[in-house]
Structure formats: C-alpha cells, structure tokens
Symmetry: C2
Subunit: 392 residues, 2 copies
Amino acid sequence: MRPFILHNPVKLRFGRGELNHLGEEIPEGARVLLVYGGGSVKCTGTLDRVHEQLKGKAAHVVEFGGVQANPEYAQLMPALPIIEAEKLDFILAVGGGSVVDGAKFIAAATAWDGDPWEFVQTRQVHTGAMPLGAVMTLPATGSEMNGVSVISRSDLGQKLSFFSPYCYPVFSIVDPQLTETLPPRQIANGVVDAFVHVLEQYVVMEQHAPLQARFSEGVLLTLLDYGERTYRDVSDHEARDAFCYAATMALNGLIGVGVTQDWSTHNIGHELTARYGIDHARSLATVMFDNFELRWSMKQPRLTQLGRRVFGLAGSDDDRVAREALAAVRRFFEALDVPTSLGAYPNVEADADEHIVKALEAHGTWPMGEKRSVDIELVSEMIRRSVARVPA
Amino acid sequence: MRPFILHNPVKLRFGRGELNHLGEEIPEGARVLLVYGGGSVKCTGTLDRVHEQLKGKAAHVVEFGGVQANPEYAQLMPALPIIEAEKLDFILAVGGGSVVDGAKFIAAATAWDGDPWEFVQTRQVHTGAMPLGAVMTLPATGSEMNGVSVISRSDLGQKLSFFSPYCYPVFSIVDPQLTETLPPRQIANGVVDAFVHVLEQYVVMEQHAPLQARFSEGVLLTLLDYGERTYRDVSDHEARDAFCYAATMALNGLIGVGVTQDWSTHNIGHELTARYGIDHARSLATVMFDNFELRWSMKQPRLTQLGRRVFGLAGSDDDRVAREALAAVRRFFEALDVPTSLGAYPNVEADADEHIVKALEAHGTWPMGEKRSVDIELVSEMIRRSVARVPA
C-alpha cells in the first residue's frame, strides 16, 4: 500500500432528530455568521429550529442568506465586511453542499491576506480559517465531512475546487429528516453524485489498497440498495438514512486514502455546469461512461471487479463482465431519471466539444486524470459521443 | 438507523517508513514520557529510531519501559511521580496495544484527582488526559485509533476496560515494517483478535445500519484474504500492509457507530486470560463459537449474511449457510494455528466454568451481551463445552 495520512477531525452527528442537538455543538458565547441558501430553509422551518438552538448559546447571530448552487465568489465576498463589522468568530452553514462550500470559502477568506480568489486558484490555504459548523439539508456532496470547497466565478467562466485542512467543519449534523422536503430530483442527483464520487476513487489502475476498495464497494452497494427507494418514497426512512450516510462516506477521505484517483469526469462536468447550467450530478452522468469506455484498457480491470463484487456478475470473460457492469450503472442512473447523454439537453450546442476543451485549457486542468491520460482529443471525442446520443 | 456520533480525531500515519515522520508529529519542545514494553523495541532498533526522531523536537525525554502484556495498574502507577518530577507534558507510546493502553491509563491518571483505579472501575474519565501519541509495533488491538484501554490488577484478579474521549492518541504511526520482527504467533493473534472485534459488532440481531455492515464485511474479507499470508510469509508486504490497516479499522469506531454490539466473548475472554494466562486473542477463539451456537436464534441471521456475503456460500437454507459460515471461521482460525477449544490448554481446570462464572460475577459484568442474553448458565455451558473438546 502507498503510505497515507487518514485524519478527519469532523464530529459527525448523524440521525433523525439530531438537529435538536445543534445547541450542544455551538461554542458558548459564539458570534455566528449563519450562512444559508435560497429561502427553502425558511419555508421548511429549519432556519427557525436553528435559531431556537442558537438561543442561549450564541452571543450574536447575523444571517447571510442567498448562497446559490455553484456558489459564486462575488456573492460570498460581502460576508467578509459583515464578519469584521460584527466581530463574528464562528460560521454556521445550513443547507446543501453549495452552502457548506460557500461557508468554507468565507471561513478561509477571513484569514487570507489579499484577494481570496488567489487561494482558490492555487488550491492552497495555509493561513487558517474561522471555525465552522454545518447542518446538512441535502446529502451527496460530502462537503459536511471534508475540507474541500468548489467556488465559481461566472464572470471568468471558472469553477474551481480548493482543499484546506482548516476547512473541515468542527461538527456536522446530518439529519435525514431535513432532506424529506427536497424535490425528488435533488435526491436523484445526490445518489448519482455520491456514486460517481466513489467511482472516481475506485475505477483506477493501481490496486494496492484492498480495504479501501472493499469500503468503496460497500458504499456503492448501499447506494444501489437504497438510492432508488429514497428517490421514489419519501416515507422510506430506512432507505433515506442509509443513503444519507453513504453519501457522507463517499467523499470524506475514507475510501480514497492511499488510492490513485481520477477526477477527470468531475473536471469535465464542472465545465458543462458552468456553460450549460446542467446540475452538477447530471453533468457527471453525461460524460463518465464515455470517459471510461474511451480508456478501456485502463478502466476495464476495475470495472470487472465492480461487476463481480458489486453487481454479482458471473462468467469468466473479464471484458464482458466489465461492459455489463457499466451497463448496469447506466441503468441505475436512468432509473433515477438522470440522463446519461448530453443529447438529452437541448441547450447543449453541436460544437460543445470545442467550447469545453477551450474552457478546460483556460483553467489549466491539463493533462487530466489517472496517468494524465485525458487529453484534448479524448475530451472532444467523449463530448461528441455524448452529444450525438439523443434519447428517443 | 439509530442516531450516532462519529468522531475520531486521531491523525493516522500509515505505511512503510512512516516512522521516519515521527519527528513531524511531536510537539515542538515537548517533554516526553517514552513508554514501551519489554526489550524488543531495543533489540529491533525501533527505540533508537524513535530517539533519533525526537532529537531537535523534544526538549526532554524520559524512558518508562517494562509495560507488560495485559498492562498492570501497579506497574504503571510509578510513571506518575516521574511525570511530576520531570515536568513532562506529552506521552509517546512505542509498542503494541498493551503499551498504548498503558500509556492511555497514565495519560488519564495525570488528570485524575484520587486513585486512578476509580476511573477504570467506573469506566468514565471526564477530567481530561495528557496528550499522547503512538507508534504501533504490533497490529490488532485497534488501540492506536480509539479511546479505549484495558488495564489489569492481578492482585484483585481484575482486567477492566475504560473509554475516554480524551484518550484518543493525537497521532498514531502504523508502520507495517515495524511488525516484521514479531514472532508469527503474534501475527496470528492479531488476525484473530481483529476478526473477533468485527464479529462482536456484526453478529447481532438489530440490522438497521447497512453501510456499517458492509464496512464490517470489507474488514473481514481483507483479513481472510491477507491474514494467513501475513502469518506465513514475512516478505509478503502487500498482505502485511492490508492486514495492519484492517486491524486498525476493526476497532476505531467506524464499523460500530449506531450498531448494537455484543462484547460478551471479550468479557469472558478477559477472565480466561486473567486466570490461565491464555493470550487475549486465543482466549476469544476458545469461547466465541460456543457463545454463538448457544444463542443460535439470535445469531443465525447475521451468520447467514456472513456466509453469503463474506464466504460466498450459496443455497437457500439459511440455517445451513450460517453453520457453514461459522465452520469456515473456525477453519480460518485453526489455519493460523489458533486453537478454538479450551481443551487445547492443559492448564485449564476441569471446573473452569465455576471459576470463570465467579470471576465475572465479582466484576459485575452481568448480565452480558446483546439483549443481556448471556447469563450464568450460558457461560457455564460454553466453558464446559469448550473444555470438553480436547484436540487430537
């Protein structure tokens, strides 16, 4: 195995009703910036419950709402003068991954000397961050239990991720009950996003981390067992709990330590979201299959393992098992009403490949993926293939 | 799923050569109590390497060696006046689980007002602990990544465990290379100990934590794949690395959060070790099978799952699959030369059942196990059965 460091200091409180323990986690006398997104946490009553929990613990609370999906630099920056003027010392994010990502950006920006966009671009934050906590209302991104944040600048057409050890939430509350008011589409997105997170850490050539592979398979099996049930039936608590926990474990470092990773599908997906507004998870589903198929010799061995261990496929023909496994994943996504082709999106241009390649070049993401195997030609080809597949 | 808190603050450095990074983890200017066991860390050169790493980082180092397997209260207590006289502020444990357990006891004792045996007996330490780090030279106990410690008082015939959130090591180094000088018997013990750790968190009735079950199965599969290879061949690095990591993950909270647990095999095993000096892991192997068989209706469903998912057993007869699974576990232990019967130990008395029941009663461990289902009659019966099985 390759040496690694596993260090995840987040205190995860998981379970139905855990929001009622938020007060126990807030530092006594904290001066809190309460970050949230659109109005949904207001409509559902979650924000009121949060305020109730802050009473008697926090000395001061200032709301900072309106953080959007794919959180924007320009929208987040106004938080900084507020924090300074109100002498705030703790950030509480209430929402989905975008809100938590936005809160991480704000937290790191408070400790940064200069334009915070610098640390997003360099992906390095060594200067610390204000402590933050999270109440997750939408599972999938894993942001509640990692130090990663993805921030966009639509003025530059950029969507970039950064990591900092200072950006792990001090605590995160994942209360599956809070996700029950979400539109089913968001659940489908969450299932697909989490599934792709695992595959980007699992479908790789180097296979020297057998326990991490077993853990990956455990997360995938759980998503397969409970993902569609969660999507179809809001009253299925057993399924929702399992799905929410699997989504957290898909991207908190556990399955990825000491493992070669290949985030090229995510890199390409970010550009598709930036240009065409396709939901993050859905963007991944449009390119991942082609991305694997076009690098078949690299990807086939682990897809064969996926087939045997996760889908229970028999037969000695490794290549065939791998193809059947990939087909099974495709069926799984489509059962969640998540299209697996760019042809399903009418606003995607016929020459999308050229735009996406240009965007990737501008953002300096080349060469991408495992063994730097994803080049311009490959991306062009996978986008063209995906655009050409127009669902009936 | 039952609500739970997952919070493991340990920074785990895992991998070959990671001992060379010890210096990076020692707090600048620390005054260190260096705790170790017998002389093996001296013979192997590990202690010299530790001192090398402490140079330039630690301001002062005092050795405290001689911690035995099943660490003794009376042996550990002399560390306290040394810590006070030398104004030490950090504890570094170098050894196996016993050494780390002993170091945790010392760490908690420094912050305890009164006789430290009190917190062992009440199993509650709320008063804090001196920070400690660990360099593991023997995998299996999981002590390197949890807050649990097991301490013995042979004068009272007691062996008790306590947990404290203050007793998580700040960092732990698991460097599989350091385990290569161990006698193979210790490796066999480690594999069995880790395997039983998982089963005590897995073979339970309540099954509302599907991802935790998948993770348990992942650890078991890894131990099955690599345990005997590690035991037989010291040059098999791939196997040793996988085994060491699996042992750490078997008891660091990951597979057990939100899960009913049943530690009755451990409770009984501790008494067998206290009375007959049977190695910890070996004591577990002598009673676990009878413990499961005598509560068959409780244990059969999960043993069936074990059979299907871990041993790949087919067939629709659940009961038969469960029995075959248990038989497969027994074969696995015996392939490691670990006996699964008390009859294999000549010093175990014919009336061992009476002594063990009396000891359990004296230590107030009744009623034990899941749904408090392990009573005097059951323990008597399982000990009698195990004693009666004398290997050919």
